[in-house]
């Protein structure tokens, strides 16, 4: 029997020896990203500076707001391909309504200056309606969100391009924004960039919505097990609509900010943003299997991506190489994430 005893001891010892392996697997993606960041810093020590830090936060801001929107949809086991086009829509609408009075190529040449809150509201309402339609179609007709939002993406591009071409100067990039608008977006308050402040406030609000309200808890429940939520009396349709509307609101805000941040908007603005947002969510542990994801995850995901692309640009690495690295990170993140939940073989 002492043989068995020794075996058990060995097993216990082995388990102790292996805890770090587990830790490594569970955090592998962060370790890899951290290694890349360390590499960038070693190559370019100037990367560690306040200016760079501020730039990274500023660049992350809009992405983060968009990521929160799609994160809710991913928690509902969905995805949103129309994010980019909605951002483009919000950007073009906001931009076309907020041009300087003395700018030559105005979209609406004779329009009096509007309070900036009105175009913001217009962007939010438009995106909420589009997104609510996505949510309705997905929940009501049980169409896979990939297809439903792909349809929306294509449709929106058509509508957006028609609107974009309907302005006085024809289909030309919309620029020459009102200074109040530009100042609101790219200015600073007490040394903190307004974009960062807005992203910070959004994070707090989203955190409360997800974790402290019935809406948030229902979102996790419906995402984790729609059937269980239904038999417990959760209104699945309402939950879907609310999550998609929240996404629309965030896309509207994001598009409004994006136009002023870039300084111009056209019908191609926002194209491909959905992929960045989804990738950030996935790297941040917001799982495609549904029901799982945290605000902190989205923040980490977005920051990681921004740091890496900013850092690689800082090093002077060609864009094309950046794509390769980003692509590999996404797939690695997802496979490691899956491994976390299926600890088998």
């Amino acid at each position: 029997m002492s043989g068995l005893k020794t075996d058990i001891r060995n097993n216990l010892l082995n388990r102790d020896k292996e805890w770090w392996k587990e830790l490594l697997i569970n955090n592998a993606i962060y370790i890899v990203i951290f290694a890349i960041i360390v590499f960038i810093i070693v190559k370019e020590p100037a990367f560690v500076s306040f200016a760079v830090f501020k730039n990274i936060l500023t660049q992350s801001s809009v992405r983060l707001i968009l990521a929160f929107g799609v994160a809710g949809i991913i928690i509902l086991q969905g995805t949103d391909l129309s994010l980019g086009r909605m951002v483009g829509f919000a950007a073009v609408v906001s931009g076309s309504l907020l041009q300087r009075a003395d700018y030559a190529n105005r979209f609406y040449p004779d329009m009096a200056p509007l309070p900036i809150i009105l175009p913001l509201l217009a962007a939010i309402v438009l995106c909420s309606v589009f997104s609510a339609i996505n949510g309705f179609v997905v929940a009501k007709f049980e169409i896979h969100p990939f297809l439903a939002t792909m349809g929306m993406m294509i449709t929106l591009y058509g509508i957006l391009s028609i609107y974009f071409a309907s302005g006085a100067p024809g289909p030309q990039p919309i620029g020459g924004f009102d200074e109040r608008y530009t100042e609101f977006v790219i200015g600073s308050t007490m040394g903190i960039p307004n974009l960062v402040l807005i992203a910070g406030i959004t994070s707090v609000v989203v955190w409360f919505l997800w974790n402290k309200t019935t809406f948030g808890k229902n979102m996790y429940a419906v995402g984790g097990n729609p059937e269980a939520a239904k038999v417990s009396g959760v209104n699945v349709m309402t939950t879907f609509l609310l999550v998609y509307i929240l996404a629309g609101v965030l896309y509207g805000i994001g598009g409004f900010l994006e136009a002023a941040r870039i300084g111009s908007a056209n019908n191609g603005t926002g194209f491909g943003y959905e992929l960045d947002a989804i990738a950030a969510c996935v790297v941040g542990g917001i799982s495609f299997s549904g029901g799982i994801g945290k605000v902190s995850g989205a923040i980490v995901g977005v920051l990681m991506f921004t740091i890496i692309s900013y850092g690689m640009t800082f090093m002077g690495l060609d864009m094309y190489y950046q794509y390769i690295i980003k692509g590999i990170i996404i797939v690695a993140a997802v496979s490691l994430d899956t491994k976390k939940y299926l600890k088998k073989s």
Partner: protein
């Protein structure tokens, strides 16, 4: 109406496309009692429950709750009126906490926000009342099936349930956990709750029931108090004929060592530690143990579905390599998985597909295309040999009863011509008559010289059909006994041997 009944079901009829599935069914549940509802699969138990919960609407007949007639529109409506059901397959949000699940759909709100403190306190009070020892903040995926079931029962109680329907609650529980469940049922009885208990397990029926109602083929056969019943009488009511014995005679003759397993330890959790055993040719070896003892994991490890840290498998004294299921199949192993619906059947495919899919390589012709005719012949042969009840081989497998689905899957593996069959809970969710047929099938296969390992949570089943029983406890083998010389008590004691991490104190 007689007020003595909490729930009264009167002469319920229901047909589907002209076929009567419920004929004048009655059920009367008194407060503070356990009323067992029995019948073979397809007898109409679940249809009756679906009518009660408003999922179906009965053609005629009435439901009374404490004397008042009612018709629920959906399960939520029933829940709010104190009638709830704990399903066999738990419908929970496993990624959320216990409190989140119990109060789902009716979170207490304080201002804008959910009142977490109230939820927590209420859950604690509820658990104290039911004598459940769990931290309400635990996530459900950290709990065992039995613990999750208790959470589900607690949820029903939190709606002030007067009637709780338990649908095969013990099908995945072990003896110890079943006792915990029964303790909770006793608390509920004391509080005057009426429990409708649906189960196939005779031993349990006699342990917990006050009354038994039996259905057969949609007919109401009768209601008796438990004192007036014997096992034979219930079986007789259920199947309409005397089952001479619940188990066929063990006619197989184990002879010579077929497979030897040495020092088998798995790499990932849940870990199986240092398993050593021999399997004789033509032997039926049972594996007993509590849930979490590592029984399924051991079968998966043998079949190459789990990574080994150490261990060798010898067939006829020759070392073989089962490092993945494909190699295991080539080494003539077959694994019948525990979760038939999840990992066994392709529900929307027909019987032919389900029969031939594991053996699909052998139906290729010289050009690499599949030969339909051979597949059809083999499928028809399996349908005939195993007496699968189906109109034809083109039927979708999900249309068959559980027992017949299981036969199709056993047939699928037999087509690969295996020598070693690993069967994980082969009779789970299958009714008494079909169980007997599966037992007979297993014994016949052993008689033909196939060596079989059967994992089962039903002790009588292991004692009834195996030659030897290997008992596992907390990932270790705690003993191997000869079936003819052992007792339920011995097996139970072995299965708890290494519990509570007292493995070192034990040796």
């Amino acid at each position: 109406m007689e007020e003595e009944y909490l729930l009264s079901i009167k002469n319920v009829n229901k047909s589907f496309s002209g076929v009567k599935v419920l004929k004048d069914v009655c059920l009367n549940v008194r407060p503070g009692t356990v009323h067992s509802l029995m019948g073979e699969n397809g007898a109409g138990k679940s249809t009756l429950m679906k009518c009660l919960f408003g999922i179906y609407r009965q053609d005629s007949g009435k439901f009374y709750l404490q004397g008042d007639e009612f018709n629920f529109t959906d399960p939520k409506h029933a829940l709010e009126n104190g009638v709830s059901m704990v399903h066999q397959e738990l419908n929970q949000v496993t990624k959320r906490t216990i409190t989140d699940n119990i109060w789902l759909g009716r979170y207490p709100v304080k201002g804008l926000f959910v009142d977490e403190r109230k939820m927590y306190e209420d859950t604690k009070a509820l658990f104290k009342r039911l004598n459940i020892h769990l931290d309400p903040r635990t996530r459900l995926d950290k709990l065992s099936v039995s613990q999750r079931q208790m959470v589900e029962i607690a949820k029903a109680v939190s709606y002030n349930a007067k009637i709780i329907v338990l649908d095969e609650p013990t099908s995945s529980l072990t003896a110890h956990e079943v006792n915990m469940l029964f303790d909770i049922m006793k608390v509920l009885k004391k509080e005057g709750v009426g429990i409708v208990y649906i189960s196939h397990k005779m031993e349990e029926i006699f342990e917990v029931s006050d009354e038994v109602t039996v259905l057969r083929d949609g007919f109401y056969i009768g209601t008796e108090t438990i004192e007036n019943l014997t096992m034979e009488k219930i079986v007789n009511m259920m199947v309409g004929r005397e089952l001479e014995d619940r188990f066929p005679a063990k006619t197989n003759k184990p002879d010579g060592i077929h497979m030897s397993v040495r020092n088998l330890t798995t790499r990932y959790k849940p870990v199986v530690h240092d398993v050593n055993f021999d399997l004789k040719k033509g032997e039926i070896l049972g594996i007993a143990g509590l849930v979490g003892a590592g029984r399924t994991e051991l079968l998966e490890a043998l079949f190459g579905a789990r990574t080994l840290k150490t261990g060798e498998i010898y067939i006829d004294d020759k070392l073989i390599n089962n490092s993945d299921p494909h190699k295991a199949i080539n080494n003539r192993f077959a694994l019948l998985t525990e979760e038939r619906r999840q990992t066994g059947i392709y529900p929307i495919a027909d019987i032919t597909f389900n029969s031939c899919i594991s053996n699909i390589q052998s139906y290729k012709n010289s050009l690499g295309f599949l030969v339909d005719r051979k597949m059809k012949e083999d499928t028809d042969l399996q349908i005939k040999n195993m007496r699968i009840k189906t109109p034809n081989r083109r039927e979708k497998i999900r249309a068959l009863s559980g027992g017949n689905q299981q036969k199709v899957i056993i047939g699928r593996w037999l087509l690969t011509n295996p020598d070693i069959l690993l069967l994980d809970e082969p009779t789970r969710g299958i009714d008494v008559g079909a169980k007997y047929e599966i037992y007979q099938l297993i014994i016949n296969l052993a008689e033909e010289g196939k060596s079989i390992i059967v994992v089962s949570s039903e002790m009588p089943e292991l004692l009834g059909i195996t030659n030897r029983i290997m008992v596992m406890s907390n990932g270790f083998v705690s003993g191997i006994v000869n079936t003819d010389e052992t007792t339920q008590t011995e097996i139970f004691n072995l299965s708890t041997k290494y519990l509570n991490n007292n493995r070192e104190a034990e040796v």
